[in-house]
Amino acid sequence: MTVTTPPPEPARTPMTVSGAHGTPPREPDGAYLDHAATTPMSAAALAAFVAVAQRTGNASSLHSAGRTARRTVEEARETLAKALGARPSEVIFTSGGTEADNLAIKGIFWGRRAQDTRRSRVLVSGVEHHAVLDPAFWLAGHAGAEIVLLPVDGEGRLDLDALRAELAAHADETALISVMWANNEVGTLQPIRDVVRAARPYGIPVHTDAVQAVGQTEVDFTESGVDAMTVSGHKLGGPVGVGALLAKRDLALDAVLHGGGQERGVRSGTLDTASIAAFGVAASHAVGCMPERAARLSALRDDLVERVRAAAPTAVLRGPEPTPHPAHDPDTAADPSPGSTGPVDRLPGNAHFTFPGAEGDSLLYLLDSAGVQASTGSACQAGVPQPSHVLLAMGVPETEARGALRFTLGATSTEADVDRLVAALPQVVARAQAAGLVSGRGQGGMA
């Protein structure tokens, strides 16, 4: 197969940051296959950040420096709104995706319940990011919310019938619905428009966490019909520490951060002008490049999937089959997911596998040693991968969920990255399976 070369990225100068003493950190090299965790800042975004960070000015100040900062913020707001199909007044800048999710879940819950005290149900899919799940469960513990975890199918896609049934039975008691645009672990695209269609007759607001989707697939806030949408800077070539909640102007939304009344009064705090400027530039660039980049990354990802299956025949792809495999060879591929022959409903840069008999931490360590940086895909506590709630919600048994690895591609990914992964993989999987056997986690499926 052929894979087009990536658009030329300006050379990045390696930067070495050292502490006051000790051995300087090694500059990461090798194949970086964890773009869903964070992806390099684009050169244009970095330049914008540096230019703005050199200026003083609080966007809430009334003098000249303040006006300059405010203008920068408002231009970025317009740029971001345009890139995402929203109105500028619908953009609420935050410190990132987690804050935007917290604002959406808590703010809409409080706002809706203030209108009608019966509204205590919060409907979220079982595969949401912890930035959605944890605020929801916090509301259950502290504010009398009832959490309804909506089921998903074996590919991680929302069960719409379950949502409809839930709404038919409890619409009056429902505060909000939150379903992510695309899953961060297995890359499944969710039927957001169907969710909106189901919710609209009842007037129930829909929030979507689109952190993984922007710049990867087409995302249009207004056209989607959702009432609130979370986006993040560092997942699309902007800086870490900035994000936004897009929220319709008539949405009942209470503040989480109280203070100076910035951002419609729902998100107080001095605006991070430099990060916001860089975020706008990065989002505009990512969305503009999306069709071309998505095509390139899909092809590279399909190649990765095919070659991983060849290199590690026991590997099981999780999430939707990225492309239909008409000449599917049953000897070399596992879990062909026969149901998924329609349009590709997976993020272009995402591939996710479980490796039977191996543990994710062994795979991660061995690949890291071989210069391949991947992720177990699930949340960590102090570096300990927990069994993925996403895989468990998809019905994957816990023993299999332990052997998960996620490979995610981005702007700087090349065929050489895939080569490096595929070259290392057979020995890595064999070793990790041997380690799985001695640690008593061995299991069947090693055909």
Partner: protein
């Protein structure tokens, strides 16, 4: 060598990792997560299991310029160390969880996983020495005997809790702190390298028992089981919330309302799990001069490379037993106890010690050569009797600084006076 440095977040393991790096090994730091629900901050004298400790280990690895990972061994820890801790207390015995952690976690789960992943050795911050010695073989060849020795740092010596790992597993262990004579020296080495943990307090308590409240932990896991405290005549003298939370030799916390008739202090002299009864009596009843150990292992007959000698389990070859199998040694029954003189011999355990239908005489040596399967140990103290030796404790046999063997106490008693005269 490719070396996995086990890093708890404490000063000892950090310096051990540093020394492994400086010895030229290719070192990777690994912090073992032994609980899924860990506290954010270290509290009191627990020093290994909080997220803060994992962070300390990470910063030490950063400074040393080595990769760092956290491995989740929490399930294995719960299934082995914690489960053993609970079941031993339930059975009226006195477990040592640090011994079981070395046996099942550090020198089994961690070591085996490291070996499978391509590491040659695991380095830890234990205070003990491994020495190798070439011995001639009858056929003219030579073999390497690997010995475990006490640390020159008497106060910190950990050979007692390491002996259970056995020579074959310790062949893949590195103890870079083995030569250090004091903790202050180790702290100085840490400070010299700029390791932020150089002044971190030592940890003493059982790592999974919050606040050192063993009884509270047992009650939370085993539930309340009220029962009677009786004296040696069988008279009820008090109540308790669960016999499992008492250990032989215990004096404090008995909660007896009235003093003994003779006014003397009373100790737990027996814990009877089947009747949920705690028996108290005078200190004299705690005196012990006979000990039987089960699951004995001996530190002889170990080839360094490549295959451990798997064969009949006998006492060390350079120990010359008398015709009945007895030889002179010293034994230690507590982590910080003093060694006492004794006669020791290897013996076949009575009957089917493992309850799996295999008589001990017919049990083949274990596949990894750890010699754990088929032997018991008999001990006669030749000096003053010991007090408070309880089943479940580890007994380690020494000659000087060298560890000869280890077993788990299955029975301890005072021989009749007529026997003692021997």
């Amino acid at each position: 060598m490719r070396v996995l440095a086990a890093m708890s977040g404490g000063v000892d393991s950090a310096v051990a990792a540093a020394l492994a790096v400086e010895a030229g090994h290719d070192v990777v730091g690994v912090h073992m997560a032994l609980s899924r629900n860990r506290d954010q901050f270290r509290t009191g004298s627990r020093g290994c299991c909080s997220i803060e400790d994992a962070g300390d280990a990470r910063r030490a690895a950063d400074l040393l310029g080595i990769p760092y990972y956290v491995w989740d061994l929490s399930e294995r820890f719960e299934e082995t160390v914690v489960a053993d801790f609970l079941s031993e207390y339930e059975a009226g015995r006195t477990p040592n969880p640090c011994v079981r952690c070395n046996e099942h976690i550090k020198f089994e789960a961690l070591l085996d996983k490291a070996t499978a992943l391509g590491f040659d050795a695991v380095a830890t911050g234990h205070y003990a020495r491994i020495e190798t010695r070439e011995v001639p073989l009858p056929d003219g060849g030579r073999r390497t005997v690997r010995e475990l020795h006490r640390s020159p740092n008497d106060a910190k010596d950990q050979s007692y809790v390491l002996a259970v790992a056995g020579a074959d597993r310790l062949a893949r262990a590195l103890f870079p702190l083995g030569g250090f004579a004091s903790k202050d020296e180790v702290r100085a080495e840490a400070a010299r390298r700029g390791l932020s943990v150089s002044a971190k307090p030592d940890s003493y308590d059982i790592c999974f028992v919050a606040d050192g409240d063993t009884r509270g932990f047992l009650q939370s896991r085993l539930g309340s089981r009220p029962g009677a405290v009786v004296d040696t005549a069988g008279e009820v003298v008090g109540e308790h919330g669960g016999a499992y939370s008492f250990t032989v030799g215990q004096r404090k916390g008995l909660g007896l309302g009235r003093p003994a008739a003779d006014g003397k202090a009373r100790y737990v002299v027996d814990v009877q799990p089947t009747t949920n009864t705690v028996v108290v009596g005078p200190a004299e009843l705690l005196s012990v001069d006979r000990i039987t150990g089960e699951k004995a292992l001996w530190f002889d007959g170990v080839l360094a490379e490549p295959t451990p000698l798997v064969g009949p389990v006998v006492p060390p070859a350079d120990v010359v037993p008398d015709p009945d199998g007895w030889f002179d040694a010293e034994v230690q029954v507590r982590a910080h106890g003093a060694p006492v003189p004794a006669r020791v011999r290897s013996a076949a355990p009575a009957g089917d010690a493992y309850g799996d239908g295999v008589p001990e005489g017919e049990r083949p040596p274990s596949a990894d050569g750890s010699h754990r399967a088929a032997t018991a140990m008999e001990i006669e103290l030749t000096g003053a009797p010991l007090r408070g030796v309880a089943p479940g404790q580890s007994v380690v046999v020494y000659r000087g600084t060298r560890v000869l063997g280890q077993a788990t106490v299955s029975r301890a008693w005072r021989a009749p006076a007529t026997d003692r005269a021997r």
